[in-house]
């Protein structure tokens, strides 16, 4: 069930005066069960790329193999629906897609569309409403009575309720409070550890370094790097040149390096930074 892009091009509004190149010649392969981050400057093609994952956009050229299906320019709608069942897509600000009278019904919308029985859909919906951290009584409320953060959780539950093999997230934590962000990411990480693939679009380098094990960097519709976050962030100049940012722990580590600290490898997360510093201090204390 790996994801494979082969020479994918995407052109917006071809043949009109508004024609623009969205993606050009993108090729990569993502392993099953990995947590992949897609990073890049605004307008670099991240969201365009993500909409290819479940056939909302079809490549103008090239092919995509995903969930044992191949997507090309002329893939029929029926196949796309198969794909959408296996690939869940959480858009930016997904709370804008809520529409049902109750939270429960809204979360059931996806499963019902993908052929779950009423019974099973309800069971799944209730399970995921609880899992995303909503109290039980919200189930019978209208989604429009909830706070923004709660609406976000309902929307995410609505995608996870049909348990897609591949979960794609476009800035899922944007606008949530820090506690809520951490909670959501723990859910996604946990979901990946159960054997699913998670694809994350993010501007937040700390999140990427903390959770992702693979990383794609886009620039102007082209893929300029496919490597682990460790490799990507190891070259500070390259990172800066391509309008990315280093995670805060690495920045701190670099300043410490200047005053004489030595790190065996560049720490990307707070935990590894703490570990490296204490190792260093212990070594120094020993002297």
């Amino acid at each position: 069930m790996s994801i494979k892009f082969k020479n994918v091009d995407y052109v917006y509004a071809p043949g009109t005066p508004f024609q623009t190149q969205g993606l050009s010649n993108i090729s990569f392969e993502i392993k099953d069960g990995s947590f992949v981050a897609i990073a890049g400057h605004t307008g670099s093609g991240k969201s365009t790329l993500m909409q290819h994952f479940d056939g909302l956009l079809l490549p103008s050229k090239g092919s995509i193999t995903i969930a044992n299906q191949t997507i090309t320019v002329d893939t029929p709608n029926k196949v796309l629906k198969e794909i959408r069942k296996k690939v869940g897509l959480v858009f930016q600000f997904p709370e804008n897609q809520l529409f049902e009278e109750t939270v429960l019904k809204d979360v059931m919308f996806g499963p019902l569309n993908f052929g779950f029985s009423e019974e099973k859909a309800k069971e799944q919906a209730m399970r995921w409403i609880e899992k995303v951290g909503l109290p039980e009584e919200t189930m019978s409320k209208s989604p429009f009575e909830l706070s923004g953060g709660q609406m976000r959780r309902v929307a995410i539950a609505g995608v996870m309720a049909y348990e897609p093999d591949i979960l794609c997230l476009d800035e899922p934590a944007a606008g949530l409070d820090p506690e809520g962000q951490k909670q959501m990411f723990d859910i996604f990480k946990n979901y990946q550890q159960l054997g699913h693939t998670v694809v994350l679009i993010s501007h937040n380098m700390e999140d990427i370094s903390k959770y992702a094990d693979d990383m794609l960097v886009l620039e102007q519709g082209q893929m300029i790097k496919h490597a682990s976050p460790k490799e990507v962030f190891s070259d500070a100049d390259w990172v800066k040149k391509h309008y990315l940012d280093e995670p805060a722990p690495s920045k701190l580590a670099r300043s410490l390096q200047k005053v004489g600290f030595h790190f065996s490898s560049m720490p990307l997360t707070v935990e590894s930074l703490v570990e490296e510093i204490s190792k260093e201090l212990r070594a120094k204390g020993g002297n």
Binding site: P17, D54, L56, R84, F91, N96, F109, L112, F144, G158
Partner: protein
């Protein structure tokens, strides 16, 4: 949705772009009136030449204009065919029941065809070369005399500019919501009529809620920046009448004169 060309603006830099929107709007409206002055081959010939010159002066690709005519082509053909079969007079070439093809019928159907195409072309020239904000400003100026009849022209103009400003935003939002529901398995292109109407609900409700939210936020933001109803306000975008607008007006007057002269009574 990207196929619809009516109401779209394509940036450019020809003489028509430099004209004042007021002049362009008035000329377009009057054009639709004076088109009915033409009633013979010669006047229609001049009409076509003048329109095509205006189209040419935009310096835009002809394909763009064809895209403007295309969605209406069936309406045009339908009307022309009706004219062809139901007009009597002159020499009769073919006759069957109430249907007949006569000399006048052929002539009239061709005239109607030209008339339709010219009206569409001229209004496409206006919309392609004028931004929607310019059109709103121009309309406000044109509606000004209605202020004497206690019509709240300033408010109408504000409503118009806000509405135009939000057309692209709401369109974007509609596409985004549609995509999000499609990702959740919604299907908008299959099933019978009833099923299709039902499938619009997941798009419409979020769209309504979204527009109401935008409206409330915008109203608060406007008040926070000092907007008060009925207070006297100044203008930032000022329309300026230039030499190009005299050209526009002269061109239009010339066409009117020619049509009057070539018209047969």
């Amino acid at each position: 949705m990207s196929k619809i060309i009516i109401g779209r603006y394509i940036p450019g830099d020809s003489i028509i772009y430099k004209m004042d929107p007021r002049g362009k709007i008035i000329a377009t409206f009057l054009f639709i009136v004076i088109i009915f002055l033409a009633n013979n081959w010669l006047s229609y010939l001049f009409l076509s030449i003048f329109t095509l010159l205006a189209v040419w002066a935009t310096k835009l690709k002809p394909k763009v204009f064809w895209d403007g005519v295309k969605p209406l082509i069936w309406l045009i053909l339908f009307t022309s065919v009706l004219q062809l079969f139901f007009t009597t007079g002159g020499k009769i070439y073919w006759h069957w029941g109430i249907l007949n093809i006569s000399e006048y019928g052929i002539q009239n159907s061709i005239f109607i065809f030209i008339r339709f195409v010219m009206i569409i072309l001229i209004s496409t020239v206006l919309t392609l070369t004028t931004t929607s904000l310019e059109i709103a400003d121009g309309m406000e100026w044109i509606l000004k005399p209605l202020g004497y009849l206690k019509v709240p022209v300033a408010q109408i103009a504000l409503v118009m500019s806000i509405a135009l400003r939000f057309v692209p935003i709401l369109l974007d939002q509609a596409v985004r919501i549609m995509n999000a529901q499609r990702a959740r398995g919604a299907d908008f292109n299959s099933g019978g009529l009833i099923k299709r109407i039902h499938s619009i609900i997941p798009i419409l409700i979020p769209l309504f809620i979204g527009s109401l939210t935008i409206a409330i936020d915008l109203a608060t933001a406007m008040e926070a920046r000092g907007y008060r109803e009925g207070a006297k306000r100044t203008r930032y975008r000022v329309l300026k009448w230039s030499k190009y607008d005299w050209i526009n007006l002269g061109y239009f007057t010339l066409l009117t004169l020619i049509l009057l002269l070539t018209r047969t009574y």
